[in-house]
Symmetry: C2
Subunit: 460 residues, 2 copies
């Protein structure tokens, strides 16, 4: 599939280079808007404006929606008012609102000036909803039916207004106060006798969401219920919009990428990696590295405290990286699992003790195995093969006990911190591996030196 | 939304407890299959069989598909052949194939014995496709049209056969050899005059996938193109099935969870965390902890080599955790970014040098800042506040230089390993932070001691 796309972009670029615009027009006419959008990313500003004008009107608007904001801005600035109005006519209101959010103030002003009064009103309303809320991703263009309509009347209505609706596959039945009474799918309409009434075939007890509901929870509902659209109501239970599955998929992908970023201690961004400027990448990474480096000061302080003891028995230093890494890995196994569980709505704060109890057992079992293997490894590698005379069975025991204790602590910290973060309103994903590693590092060193002090006579 | 679900399950359990089955029947009748499925997870085996029989036939089959495999097996064993046949009649072929994959041999035999010849044949074909391929997730129940049909004839055909099709919103136009010629959406049909011919309104140049294509790439296509279904063709270009958006969402979620697991060094599983037995969690985690612990042996060996030098200047030990953590975090920032880029099809092997060049610049900028701050931090905290006399400006310089070098190495290793892994056919996600941390640990220690040997007179 990738090959086809590359060929399309390459072919298009060739035709543009050699100014074969008629051929280019034929080439792109039957392509998907998302693929045509990719061609524009490779063009110079002058070429963007030129090639865009080769597209048929309707396709042009679809491609416009798929473009990067900088190209959208460039094109709007190249349009005269008539051209801008013609383009806006073809856009859905929710897409227009999304575009406006990315534009500078003067462009926004021009868009709103040239929009139809209806579009202006709806777009202004959409822009008022908080970011990441149902209201901010919904569309207001859907088919409304009345209970008393017949199937035939409904099909006629769809034929009349359907062209401007984002989906006609779910139609919404509302009363005179605009409250949602039921839904009828296009499948129901097509498979029912023409004289049936809508109230006879509609589904009541419709699952709906509120304009202020969080977009991530809504995206999860699409995964669970296999919907292709979901109605959105306001606080007075009036139907104000719908969310379609394609927007839910976008949200899903966005939220997942955000979680991945946060878990790797990066400030999330919605630009593709290869298209992100180096300075922006740097800004998204360096504050976290600084914060984590500074917080490692505590680990350093613990080591300082035992500096003299380590000088007496330097062999103990050898095992510090292994202890820290194993602690870090154990912790992130637990934290990533719990963070995903929270994101998917499978783990909640009320499960706190259930989770702790589960991780306690898992960590004891992991710790037992790792501890035993560690004794073997220390005696075989460090004592026998490396001939390190300072390493004896007591040292091996200290390492093994520390490993076990570290794994248990790491897993308990790793599973509980994300749940606590969620409880007090923080993002659980930010609590992920890097922070837990720092805490676990400190804990593992304290355990290490405590166990060493207890078991090794000349260490204190 | 969560509150509603909890209430449904709780209410249902109450009614079951008090044996109010008529009321229970009314309660569940209008609920979503996915929600009803959750009730069954809380029931005893006898209750499962009893409550299932309260559901109306069609809803019962929909709920069956949503159930956990153990409940499905339990129910099939409780069915007599007539009941089993009635249930199978209501299932889509692809759902039947999915269920069969989770059942033990004797149950599979009974299902196939009671399936219609048509279902048996299709299911057997579906089961032959490799796991994670388009063939394994496609459905064979879709609407086929011919080019010469009128819109009216097509709508009549849909009315006749549509009830058994997984979607009627995209219809597929095939020639006599069953090759895909175009698609027509239900919207096109509803909005076109009844006497138009299909060839006049169909979309040619349809994007399709092959039965052997990877499911993850296909799921990405849904995100990109906003499809609600995608046709699947075989090697002779014959249309053999379609993939619907709900299945694509499931794949997306599955693949994301797999990536999260691999990045946290856990063997992926498709059971929810809270439902996974402790032993299974342990088995998915302990081999990775072992492997990573063993590989930390190399870091230990490097420290061994410098044990004597560290004894002379134990202050250097203090900074080891900070160096290792910063290296690990820098590395995973780069690796997670590149791994996600690969997963989303945004980064390919041909971008290798572009990525390296980008990370080199980012890492130099990160390293510069971190190095400068580290000098300040070491002099302020360790020298001035902690009064560690062994720590002077030269030691601070050693730490700063090592940090810079480590960050550059970590980012270069972090970005290149996943791409190399992908190139030689490994899963890039498995190359993620834990492995990179281990490698970076070793590198950072070698750098640390080399810089120390060069700059500190009594360290060698």
């Amino acid at each position: 599939m990738d090959e086809i796309e590359t060929t399309l972009v390459e072919k298009a670029l060739e035709l543009i280079e050699s100014k074969k615009y008629a051929e280019l027009k034929r080439l792109v006419k039957h392509q998907e808007p998302a693929d045509i959008g990719e061609i524009f990313e490779e063009l110079s500003p002058e070429q963007v404006a030129l090639v865009y004008r080769l597209l048929p009107k309707e396709l042009a608007a679809e491609v416009f929606v798929e473009m990067e904001p900088d190209n959208q801005e460039l094109l709007i600035n190249s349009f005269n008012d008539t051209e801008l109005r013609a383009m806006l006519d073809e856009l859905y209101y929710d897409d227009t609102a999304d575009i406006i959010e990315e534009m500078p103030a003067n462009v926004v002003k021009r868009i709103l000036k040239n929009a139809s009064p209806d579009m202006r009103k709806t777009v202004n309303e959409l822009l008022k909803y908080p970011e990441d809320s149902a209201g901010s991703i919904m569309t207001t263009e859907f088919v409304r039916l009345k209970k008393k309509f017949t199937v035939e009347e409904s099909l006629e209505l769809i034929r009349r207004v359907g062209i401007d609706k984002e989906t006609i596959y779910t139609c919404y039945v509302t009363d005179n106060q605009n409250r949602l009474e039921g839904i009828v799918s296009a499948k129901d309409l097509l498979l029912s006798p023409l004289n049936k009434k809508i109230w006879e075939i509609m589904t009541e007890n419709v699952i709906s969401v509120n304009t202020r509901d969080d977009q991530e929870e809504i995206a999860q509902m699409f995964g669970k219920y296999d919907f292709i659209a979901l109605p959105v109501t306001d606080n007075e239970n009036r139907l104000v919009g719908i969310i379609t599955v394609d927007d839910a998929i976008d949200v899903m992908q966005e939220e997942v990428e955000e979680d991945f970023s946060k878990m790797a201690a990066i400030t999330p961004s919605d630009t593709e990696y290869l298209k992100t400027p180096v300075v922006k990448l740097w800004l998204s990474r360096v504050p976290w590295l600084l914060l984590l480096m500074i917080s490692a000061t505590f680990t350093g302080m613990i080591l300082s405290r035992f500096e003299a003891s380590l000088a007496v028995l330097p062999a103990l230093t050898i095992f510090i990286p292994m202890l820290m890494d194993t602690g870090g890995n154990s912790g992130s196994q637990a934290s990533v699992t719990v963070i995903r569980g929270i994101s998917l709505g499978q783990v909640e704060f009320k499960d706190f003790f259930k989770v702790i109890w589960k991780e306690l057992r898992v960590s004891l079992m992991c710790g037992g195995v790792i501890g035993l293997v560690a004794i073997g490894k220390v005696m075989l590698v460090d004592h026998l093969i490396m001939h390190n005379d300072d390493v004896n069975i007591t040292v091996a025991l200290v390492v093994a006990i520390t490993l076990m204790a570290t794994i248990v602590c790491a897993k308990l910290i790793g599973c509980s911190l994300p749940m606590l973060a969620k409880k007090i309103g923080f993002d659980p994903a930010v609590m992920a591996s890097p922070f837990i590693t720092t805490i676990v590092d400190a804990v593992s060193l304290v355990v290490y030196f405590s166990v060493a002090s207890a078991l090794l006579p000349n260490f204190h």
